[in-house]
């Protein structure tokens, strides 16, 4: 059974289409990176998955339970870290942990204490006196200490300093080793690259690309840089190859699909240097947003 399953999930707020017929499956034990810029529909997706907002069409299920129809049952195995760390200002961190654990009905107390240490949370300080990053840490500790089977994290590292980001990655790895599923919404690509098994890229309410990093790289354009002995000679038209940048005697090419035809064509030409590299996640991501020409390879 999928940890998360969305079928044709659609949400409109008045005239605004926030999410359009999203199909999504996340398997148990998977760490899924949900990428997209601000306003792409990441938070909307999460609110629909949790049944906090009502889908205009389609359905979302967590471990097979419809989150809108039966949120209580659906939430038993879920912990959520909200994008904005609004908690109860008059409670201290320790009281917040206690409250959330009691409402949930379970908590790994020893692990919680370890996380308090790791994230350097001051348990006796009231939430209202905490900075945004520190409130975020309180949310993270509460969510991970629940040992829930599915963790839904909405931009969890916004406001965290680099040290805490390391702590976060360590904690995600621990959760993964335990077999917990993680749905990580983010626009911090290095973080997603570091911890996620599979990535979905959201644009304007629709999933434009999805796969393992390996698949995304494979299906996306390679970057090939060629330096010639002398001015750049004319190249034959090749399917899947286009020039991204041209200099006096150098050329940068984006190649989607196999490299062979290009290499064959170059073999005839006075090439002095050739480099080829896989795209970074950032390039894949930017490709979907910059070019506006939709899907690559997929």
């Amino acid at each position: 059974m999928d940890a998360i399953r969305a079928e044709g999930l659609t949400k409109r707020y008045g005239e605004t289409r926030a999410l359009e017929a999203l199909d999504l499956r996340v398997a148990p034990g998977e760490v899924y990176g949900y990428l997209g810029p601000n306003g792409a529909g990441k938070t909307t997706t999460i609110r629909l998955l949790l049944g906090l907002h009502r889908p205009t069409a389609g359905r979302a299920a967590l471990f097979g339970t419809d989150a809108w129809r039966d949120p209580v049952a659906a939430h038993r195995k879920v912990a959520y870290v909200a994008g904005e760390p609004f908690l109860w200002p008059s409670l201290t961190s320790a009281e917040t942990f206690e409250f959330l654990a009691r409402v949930r009905g379970s908590e790994d107390r020893a692990y919680r204490d370890l996380l308090i240490e790791r994230f350097r949370v001051d348990p006796d300080k009231k939430v209202r006196a905490l900075s945004k990053g520190n409130r975020q840490k309180v949310q993270l500790v509460a969510a991970f200490a629940s040992r829930a089977e599915l963790l839904i994290l909405d931009e969890p590292t916004a406001g965290l300093d680099p040290l805490m980001e390391v702590a976060f990655r360590e904690t995600v790895h621990e959760a993964k080793e335990r077999g917990q599923t993680i749905f990580l919404s983010s626009h911090i690509l290095s973080e997603v690259e570091a911890v996620c098994d599979r990535v979905g890229i959201l644009r304007a309410g629709a999933l434009v690309d999805e796969g393992t990093l390996q698949q995304l790289r494979h299906l996306s354009a390679h970057t090939v840089e060629v330096t010639f002995d002398g001015p750049v000679p004319p190249l034959p038209e090749l399917a899947g190859v286009h020039a991204a940048e041209a200099g006096e005697s150098a050329l940068r090419l984006e190649v989607s699909g196999p490299l062979r035809p290009l290499l064959a064509a170059l073999a005839e030409l006075p090439v002095v240097a050739l480099t080829s590299r896989e795209p970074s996640l950032e390039e894949i991501f930017l490709h979907h947003y910059d070019a506006g020409d939709g899907r690559v390879g997929g």
Binding site: R47, L50, L52, H53, R54, P71, V72, A73, H75, R76, V78, A79, Y80, A82, E84, F86, L87, W88, S90, L91, T92, A94, E95, E98, F99, L100, R102, V103, R104, G105, D122, P123, D124, K125, K126, R128, A129, Q139, I152
Partner: protein, 548 residues
């Protein structure tokens, strides 16, 4: 070429010189706009009540004999002066209005002053917007003065409302102008108190509490001054007393204006001096932000909500309890009064025979009904705040049903309402008995219980607003109660037909113990309340959670 170069130079010049001024003006406009709904509501209320009282006077007291009797009895009664203050001239419409409208008006104006100042000077800061402004091209002094200007603009709106009501009813323009000024001086002084509290307190909530405590203390001083013999000098110790001493329409003493003006200036100067020196986001009083965990009342969302509302609940209980006891004590003072027929008519308009302790108590329990209704609204507003602040999103991502959460919140409102009603009954009874009045405990508990159907109806309607129009919840809740109450008190003076008066639930309650309990009306209100609550739960479970 030369000309275009000159204009290219001129453009940045303009841009450079504008921001400080423009930003300060924006802060002032913001300070006014943030409170405009409240300010305009208060101004409309003042205008309405002034108009009704001015135009109703000649009708109620047509002859000099009527007026003299009124002065000797009603006007000199302690229970009446408690609210309205000391009358100086009840033989003329101006003096009557200055007393009837000025006394309570000053109290409302004072509350407005605290709310407006804390809103403009502290709430903005707590929300982080103040920091944003000061990081721009605005000096602290200009920002502070601009916020004060915004409050001042709001005060002018209040003044205009009261003046229009008086003039519209037929009072002279000049006299009305002075009266409106006199009645609203407390708004200025209490804006000063609110401004100072905003600098002393570490947060908006504490600033509001400080301001309201100051208001309570200064109100009690005025009550003592107006109701105890030989304590009249105390009037000089409170801004609410200064307002009386200005004696609008009764031999005005404009020199007294120096007192509120000097006090306001001193308070604002002190607040300003602190505002220029302290760190943004802190207060002179230290916030207690660290403590060992207290784990009581954390077992469920309802328990935690009760924990959050504990302070507010205690405040309501203390206020209603103290008020009830005082009403009980003074309920006996009317027994010996002899009133003329026309005054009986005037009093009968309230719906009770005010000449007996039961009558007084029955009449004043209408105010407890109002207070408990407002408490119920405040509880729904608190529930809405938990949703708007997105804490609810965190809660409802746990295995917790929406209906259970809302039902818990409503249960707190219900329990608190019952506690307030019982406490009001007990303490009013104790107060009356302490003066030897013959009022039975059972009757008083009946009076308390009689408050509940209307309060629950307003609870239901507020909850319905939360279910259907989340963003408008607080406005709808308080708006319905206030309009219904003001309409019941003053609608009849406008000669409104009874079906139109009947839209207010307060119109349908018997003034227990003076009148019979109206079982049918109560049953209908309870049924409507139950239907509204059920609809509210259903609607709330089926809508998107809605932030601010």
């Amino acid at each position: 070429m030369g000309a275009s170069a000159a204009s290219a130079h001129a453009a940045p010049e303009r841009v450079r010189t504008r921001p400080p001024h423009g930003a300060a003006a924006a802060i002032g406009r913001r300070a006014f706009a943030d409170g405009r709904v409240r300010t305009i509501s208060f101004a409309a209320l003042f205008a309405f009540i002034a108009y009704v009282n001015v135009s109703g006077y000649a009708h109620s007291f047509p002859t000099l004999q009527d007026r003299l009797t009124f002065v000797r009895s009603f006007g000199n009664d302690a229970s009446v002066r408690l609210f309205y203050g000391q009358p100086y001239d009840l033989l003329h419409v101006g003096g009557y209005v200055a007393w009837r409208v000025g006394g309570t008006g000053a109290l409302f104006a004072a509350a407005w002053g605290v709310l407006a100042a804390v809103r403009a000077l502290r709430a903005e800061e707590d929300a982080g917007r103040w920091e944003l402004l000061l990081a721009g091209a605005v000096r602290r002094r200009d920002a502070y003065l601009a916020a004060l200007a915004g409050i001042g603009a709001g005060w002018l709106v209040l003044w205009a409302g009261l003046w229009l009501g008086c003039v519209g009813g037929g009072l002279t323009a000049g006299g009305s102008a002075y009266f409106a000024l006199a009645a609203l001086t407390p708004a200025l002084v209490f804006a000063g108190i609110g401004a100072l509290a905003s600098q002393l307190a570490p947060s908006r909530r504490v600033a509001l509490e400080l301001g309201m405590v100051a208001l309570a203390v200064l109100f009690v001083l005025r009550v003592v001054a107006d109701t105890s013999t030989g304590a009249g000098w105390l009037r000089w110790a409170t801004p609410l007393g200064w307002s009386e001493q200005l004696r609008a329409f009764a031999g005005p003493r404009p020199l007294v204006l120096l007192a509120p003006l000097a006090a306001t200036a001193a308070l604002l100067w002190a607040a300003g001096a602190i505002a220029l020196r302290r760190d943004v986001g802190s207060g002179v009083l230290q916030a207690h932000d660290r403590r060992a965990p207290r784990t009581r009342l954390l077992s469920s969302p309802t328990a935690q909500a009760l924990r959050g509302e504990r302070g507010s609940l205690i405040g309501w209980l203390a206020g209603v309890g103290a008020f009830a006891f005082v009403i009980g004590v003074i309920s006996t003072t009317f027994q010996t009064a002899r009133l003329s027929e026309s005054i009986r008519r005037e009093l009968a308009r309230f719906g009770a025979n005010l000449l007996t302790p039961s009558g007084i108590l029955g009449f004043y329990f209408l105010f407890f009904m109002l207070a408990i209704s407002l408490f119920a609204c405040a509880q729904v507003a608190a529930a809405r705040r938990e949703e708007a602040g997105q804490q609810l999103e965190t809660l409802l991502s746990l295995p917790l049903g929406r209906r259970r959460w809302l039902a818990g919140r409503l249960a707190i409102a219900l329990g608190g309402s019952v506690a307030l009603a019982v406490l009001a009954a007990l303490l009013a009874w104790a107060g009356a008995r302490s003066q030897g009045a013959h009022v039975s405990l059972a009757d008083m508990l009946g009076a308390g219980a009689n408050c509940l159907p209307a309060a629950l109806l307003f609870l239901g309607l507020s909850a319905l607003a939360l279910g259907a129009w989340p963003r408008a919840t607080t406005g709808i809740a308080y708006g319905l109660v206030s309009v219904a109450f003001v309409w019941q008190l003053f609608g009849s003076a406008l000669g409104a037909p009874s079906w139109l008066l009947g839209v207010s639930p307060f119109h349908h309650v018997g003034l227990v113990p003076a009148q019979h309990f109206k079982a049918l009306a109560a049953a209908i209100m309870l049924a409507l309340a139950a239907a509204a609550l059920a609809a509210a739960l259903a609607l709330f479970a089926r809508r998107d959670l809605t932030g601010e």
